[in-house]
Amino acid sequence: MHPAPSVIVFTTLSGLGFGLLFFLGLGLPNVTGWVAFTFFVIGFGLSVAGLLASTFHLGRPERAIKAFTQWRSSWLSREGWCAVAALILMGLYSIGAIFFAQRWGLLGFVGALFSILTVFTTSMIYTQLKSIPRWNMNLTPAMFLSFSLAGGALLAGQTALALISLLIAALVQILYWRQGDQALARSGTNIGTATGLGDRGSVRAFEPPHTGTNYLLREFVHVVGRKHAEKLRIIAFSLGFFIPVVLLIMPVNSVATKHFLAAVAVLSHLAGVATSRWLFFAQAEHVVGIYYGKR
């Protein structure tokens, strides 16, 4: 798949933002006044920036409102609803925390639920696609959810929770890569089933239908970037999980240093997740590539 910057930015930022909103909704940390204001601005900023970025890849963004109509069948539509519900609920909840120094627990809980549900619906947009075997796995939602929780806990300053969720996310990441590398072969789709000629001999794409490129090749067949996949995996893993964990467990006494290290951990994690997301797209093979003798 073509790793479009808009989608990578969207899933990375909004995953982080909704992860933070999840913890804020649960009262972790239980903040009020200006501190609460700062936390909520970051949470809303990230999630809304992500959602806005996602509209950049639409051919007709002016009609985006129509995407709310098909929640019965479409995960993309459900994602829209969950995101709006989460933002409204958390918006109301933040009013209590910022202006009245009160924690409206139930509202926060429901808001937290919708925040994490938004991340889940985002992941299901990818998971549902049988045409992309590397995404069509249970580990895809596990990855999106664990990343979002890890990032959220980091941003929310919940050191213990962040440590646990970072370790879980790291484990899910490794499992995802391992299972993903076999996904295409396991799907059973190959040039033989694609052409229906497989039982007659070995099939080879002899001539493509067009000499130039087209939408399908631009969107679905991204072979170039996979060359450095192994190196990028190491970079993603180090930045996303290893460095943040090391920074979190580093024994420091001064509060200022602790905050500084936490900030570095967040940025490192963000860069790591973005790299992992880039790989998520760039490495995903759409089976249509098989028709072109590519993958």
Partner: protein, 249 residues
Amino acid sequence: MTQLPHSTERKLGLVIDLDTCVGCHACVISCKGWNTENYGAPLSDQDAYGGNPSGTFLNRVHSYEVQPQNGHAQLVHFPKSCLHCEDAPCVTVCPTGASYKRVEDGIVLVNESDCIGCGLCAWSCPYGARELDVAEGVMKKCTLCVDRIYNENLTEVDRVPSCVRTCPAGARHFGDLGDPDSDVSKLVAERGGIDLMPEQGTKPVNKYLPPRPKDTIEDQIDVLAPLLAPIAEEPKGFMGWLDKALEKL
């Protein structure tokens, strides 16, 4: 509505004969010609006369080489357009309701005025049957020439898809695959028509007829061949001796 109908009254679709297709691409051009000036937005081209041409097509012809375990390789031309799947993933993923499958005849269409061009339906189609038009920003796909097959302004012989009407080899057939007595259903039964990527679970309506086994190529390719046999005989005399001497070396 992007929920799929439980069943459709008819299953209109195409049957494509891989045995007779000669790979001339006439259906590609005729499809583009008809569909760029009729139903929906035109099929745009980018840099059509430049060094990097690309454009929107609803039908494309690949060519494959099949190498059997023994014997000669065979070249198979392979036209591909939307298969109007019964379990069409492209319909259910659509957030706007722009993508839908018709109850009356099973044709899968896009309502372009509702389409936001998110591209998700094209992502979900394993066959690459949908292309987002760069100029219009909306999704284009084969309409099964819905504006021809019911069109009373056309003479009856023309009330078939443009690609079917054009194919000089008669490799494309159109009809109701839901009716076991239709010509196309009989053809599929007789020739052992197949589904593409059955493991994807899309239940395509369009069927492909596999190429027939080719006549065996015998050693003697022509009855006149013996008369054309090389006349050079075993060399005699000095040349014969030289030949043998060189052979021994």
